[in-house]
Symmetry: D2
Subunit: 453 residues, 4 copies
């Protein structure tokens, strides 16, 4: 639930707004719109007449940047990044964008994803004499581009992209150019936008970032495609032959914001539809439907609509508590869930409740929420989950868990899980059910982690 145990796959934004030296301000607001994709670090690299300056640090966008910093970052082209780095993958821990030198100047790289063949590429480069600093995937990419560069930097980028395996949506800023790219399976999303006054282009992990900076959505980059933005305009090329579409289904389940569209599909609608399917697959006798805020809400609305059971707010999230840095004393620690989530007793008391959440990974948070509802007087809690059971680790680093045994669905049967979390009944949407909510897009979906071995 929430993002418990799940790794947000970072957010990237690239902006080129000709002659507007305040693009760092735009990136700042754009990154705020993407903040849900990563709260661990934030960074902006800005291009001034070919010279790149940048600032990045650990923390939320609004904590990393202030008026002082933004006042210095002047330029009409920039690249921004927010990151969530998993505990298990320490190789990508530096704040991004990463800035690197090449023969003719600087390269800035920002990555949403995971290059699965990075260790191999790195070893090869090391044999060839390359020296690495933080050894991150971004640095491997930068070093490859640098080495491939002869005369045409775009060509060097293209050749590099062609060698990368894994899930990646990439932003690169080099030689007064902004380059965006998606892997050949299109696992992570990336959209292209245009400033409505026509002076430039932008790209972002989700289109919600465009609304805030005054750009309009143009299209999503195709898998295997790269886009080059510069003073001559926008053009796209293929860096790799597109393969089977494998957009990560969890983008819809909880990575993305509900007001985003991905693969041509409204994230909100897909979640509501998933709730409806869930109601059909696992009906319940109950008095009301409640969603776990925020990502369980749309599904709960759908479940209610389909089942005819009234929808209700039953859990209130405290908007202020989140950023507190004061540690509650021992005695308060047991109240930690309550600090963030408070049940509405009148709604809950004596009721049979359908509780809808986006997923169950470890099960610990779900257990605590159900406990909270029962203490508040809920007669029954029927747990309904908007994603199928997660049985495997993600090859692309999508689940922030390194040990399969931590996945509750990997170790226990559904009935065991039900007892474990204290629910009166438990239903996970079927894989077909979930995929059914994602129809109409241009390619297929990756659901490897959801399939039984």
């Amino acid at each position: 639930m929430g993002n418990e145990g799940v790794k947000d796959y970072c957010g990237i934004i690239g902006i080129y707004d000709e002659n507007n030296l305040d693009t760092a301000n735009l990136a700042y607001f754009g990154l705020m719109a993407l903040q849900h994709r990563g709260q661990e670090s934030a960074g902006i690299a800005i291009n001034n007449a070919g010279f790149i300056t940048h600032y990045a640090d650990a923390g939320l966008v609004q904590d990393v940047f202030d008026q002082r910093i933004l006042s210095i970052l002047k330029g009409d082209m920039c690249l921004g990044h927010v990151k969530y780095s998993s505990g298990s993958e320490r190789r990508n821990n530096s704040p991004q964008p990463l800035i690197s030198e090449y023969r003719k100047g600087q390269i800035a790289v920002a990555l949403n994803g995971s290059i699965t063949n990075a260790p191999m590429l790195k070893e090869k480069l090391s044999w060839e004499g390359a020296v690495f600093d933080d050894g991150s995937d971004c640095e491997v990419i930068a070093v490859m581009i640098s080495r491939k560069f002869q005369r045409d930097i775009v060509e060097a980028v293209r050749e590099t992209l062609a060698e990368l395996e894994g899930a990646f949506s990439l932003g690169i800023m080099v030689d007064n150019k902004l380059i965006a790219a998606r892997d050949k399976n299109g696992i992570r999303p990336l959209s292209i936008g245009r400033f409505t006054n026509g002076r430039g282009y932008a790209f972002a992990s989700e289109n919600v970032a465009f609304d805030i900076i005054g750009a309009e959505f143009l299209y999503e980059l195709e898998r295997g495609q790269m886009a080059v933005i510069d003073y001559k305009g926008l053009r796209t090329e293929w860096h790799s032959e597109p393969e089977k579409g494998s957009l990560c289904a969890f983008e819809f389940v909880y990575f993305a914001r509900p007001d985003s569209n991905i693969n041509g599909i409204s994230v909100y609608e897909s979640r509501e539809l998933a709730g409806r399917r869930l109601a059909a697959e696992f009906p319940a006798e109950a008095d009301c439907v409640i969603g776990v805020p925020d990502s369980g809400i749309p599904g709960a609305i759908g479940f209610a609509a389909e089942s005819g059971i009234p929808y209700s707010l039953g859990l209130i999230k405290n908007r202020y508590i989140g950023r507190s840095f004061i540690e509650p004393t021992t005695r308060l620690r047991e109240l930690a869930v309550k600090l963030k989530l408070n049940p509405i007793t009148n709604i809950v008391q004596g009721k049979r409740i359908v509780l809808v959440d986006d997923s169950i990974v470890r099960g610990t948070t779900t257990l605590r929420i159900i406990e909270l509802l029962k203490i508040s007087g809920a007669r029954e809690v029927h747990m309904r989950v908007l994603s199928p059971q997660i049985k495997e680790l993600c090859r692309f680093g999508g689940i922030d868990i390194s040990d399969r045994a931590d996945l509750i669905s990997n170790r226990y049967t559904t009935e065991e899980i039900r007892r474990n979390i204290g629910a009166d009944s438990l239903g996970f949407i079927s894989l077909d059910g979930l995929l059914g909510t994602l129809r109409g897009g241009s390619g297929g979906y990756c659901s490897e982690c959801l399939e039984a071995p």
Copy 2:
């Protein structure tokens, strides 16, 4: 909408947890649970063996206090306050609790409300030689107590309370005692709680604060009543003959948190019920019902349930943008609403929408939200408002507006307002309708501002 033009009436909390020197930590978390009642300043006064130390400043609870400050505030009895002070009423601008000296020691006073006869009382005290510092209502109260004090401080407090007119829920800490009081009409709420481990008591503007500090709700203080908490326990007395119950109806409309109970009524349920009534009073032909986050949501759910029109999330609030201190550049300013509220295009496009909000005061925000929906493709927007038209200023300072002409309902007919805000139809719940959602409590409600002259 939101709190546009409306004055939150502050939040107060009092804690006595015998021998627990960390009650300031409890107050910190309790005030966070009450943060919605005032974001302008925050303060905590703590009692150490009869000596009161305190810290208060402008800002959110988590910005005013940090670990350093809390580590100094040691004592087992404390009084906390969060404030929203209106622009029009400058006489209550200092952060509270106010600390004052009396013959035998110190008095701390924290006020949620407005003493209507304060100017008169102050003048009288001045004639008698009293000198004022900030001249706030709190100071008037403290000076009165000090002057009335002979031997029994509780008696002096009682006599003082008996002379106060207006709307007030008060917290006083003096002589190792914590005193809570409500005015004789019970205009502002106040609840009493008990630490579940039995070592002490607490009071708070709303019972949601109890959950977080490990206390349980006991009862709401009666109008005209005062409670005294000290090492001997909890006792209540009458400071004034209770008069007609006049709890402010707007506590339910938007002051209070949905997970609070006031006057024995669930705030959430009253809002949902108001939505239902509104649907009955002003039905609409529409495709979906949308609430303005956060306080319009429960009413939208109720409207949908009653009307059979599907409920949907259509506006997403950016949780991260709120506290940004970076001013958007001129070009971004027009996007200011979008920074906070983003419509889900797929839900909105081509749809006839019922938009539910808690109130319309000036009308400017409503206008901008409807515009936003129309730009996103909404075919029709049927505005439904969960409170009746606000035609008069509040005698107790409940509306942060000093000029009646700023109240849109005071100047225009409903039809004129509808045209003004760009809605396709417009309905305000009737006063009877609203009051009907508040039945079952122990007294009546104040609705002066809602009644036509």
Copy 3:
């Protein structure tokens, strides 16, 4: 005394260290060495491949800049400034360097001094259609350069300099060039240095800045001269016919650091020599000689050496108190001088003291120090002043006083001043005496403010 009533004339530094992108770090340390010339604001502009970014704010160098800011300011050429702006001259209040746009890019300007014909030049430019932002002298200079620019920016700078009247040492950064200039009378100092490893050049208000950044002193710029530093090296030209040398004598009295050399003369030696002259001109029967820290110390040593009266430390300056932002309570305010300066009772008690200070402007601080010594038991205090009486305001803004009546020497006779400050005798060095300490330099000195009308 100290800088009471006197305006430090700012400090400037320019650095070009080819391929060293960390020159902002060098400027940071260089500005620290010049911090005594201005504590009001600090700023650094940096040149990246022709693009200038900058940061400047009110405060000490170490408060304005931190690691975050310096990490962003990357480039191998930069211009820095520390400022003391007088209360009376509000037209030069923005932190410098000032950044301005011209046809081909940006200009950064940093000024130590005052352009006396700036109001006239500004009016002329306004007539020609120029629009000003802060209207500072720096902006007038930037606008003039911009307007004169045809093809050769250095030529435009030279033509501009030729039209400026007043006292100025200037730093300009434009088109990958660093330009330094001194006015035709050479009123303010400016030195040129070279990085000892030979990769670049620097200029600074005082040569003490070179020691800290690893540069060696080359020469002082001549009056009427300008120096151009770029990738081709260092060259000097004449922007104006040099006129009568009029270096401000107060640079030696207290503006400059004692370890600086100005006009080929050691500041320390000139101060010690002034003390010797003073002893010859105004001998005293006394037991010991004490200097007011810090700028009165060298003169006191000289006075002692000449007179044979033993030199002693008698006043200790608290090095820690200076930057405290805590206001002492009323009761402590009277101790304010003591907070900074504490007499050594054993040295002072029962003694006849010669007290040496750099100057007397208003007389208030001197009065308080003499009082302090008398309270500590001094039998007699013979005041000796290392500069002649200041009878006139400075045409170039050198004295931070707008009303002649505030100059104690303008209103009172020496005997009246003596009584006023409570001294047992009082002697100011003669103008000839002072000028005698400054012999051997390349030109004359300005002493207008010291001459009786």
Copy 4:
């Protein structure tokens, strides 16, 4: 030199100013006057009607405390501390005052010194069941007092003091009483003062703290004595039979401020006198005498007076650089000494210089200063040291060195040291010479570390 390798023995201050609730402000300024005795941490404990609140943290006084913190610390009795803790003695690392509980309330303890039998006392207490938190000397003292307490807390303090061995000046605040004490040998200084308006008393490590808070010096506490300050006034008692006076001679050499009096002797005068003795013991043929700022200056003045060689400032200390937190880049690191100390070339060039410093411990700093002078053109540097050779570690923790081999005088002959540091001649004052400067006080001095084994 400076404090290189030497452990400042902390500074303490105690204040009782009846009915003045702002004594924390007084302590703040008093601690600033004692800041030279410890820059590592600072703390203030304040007594409110018997309840002690406190704040302490690592850092300078002005960084640890701000207006917010001081505004909370209200009370008319307080205890303050600044600390320098040696690297070798980790057992006393927590910021002080230490606050501890005893049966009837709280005890605050602040220590300047080292309890040599603390490990033994601690072990004994542990056997008796005592549990320690940080195990510091302060905690051992607090636990002892707590255990000895029957009815009279002052009696318990006295019994505790009687059992302590080592060097200590102590401040204790308990039961509305302020207690000061000195060990039976009087190794560390402690003075008593009285508020000049007669409402209270204070004590401090050095009397310079009194000047700043508006108190006057009364007397120094005798060895073996304790003073009790409370609402009844000031009284002194003996906690131990006074033994041989052994005031640490290094208090005069560099611990104390020159404007302090210790043991009835002016610190400044003793340093100047030491300079004179040194000139007699080790005359030099030279052109000028220079002192290493700040503590070498008085001795240099004395040396000059005695020898007739002119005294001069030759090294200027940069007052601004000290608190910089920006790390110089590798290239600048070699300039580190220059950042703090700059020679005046004109004074130094071609001269034979007598360089006077307070001590030589490791020799590394001395080496660098002599190098600096030689680079600036000094012909000869004759090193003269105001303290005898340090041959042994201090039993009381006075030298922040754990390995005797780090004491240059322990390993090398004088001639070897001279060559090592690059001096042309080298002379250390004799022990008799130093002790001769300290005559007239009430007891003897400890000079164990200076005597050859």
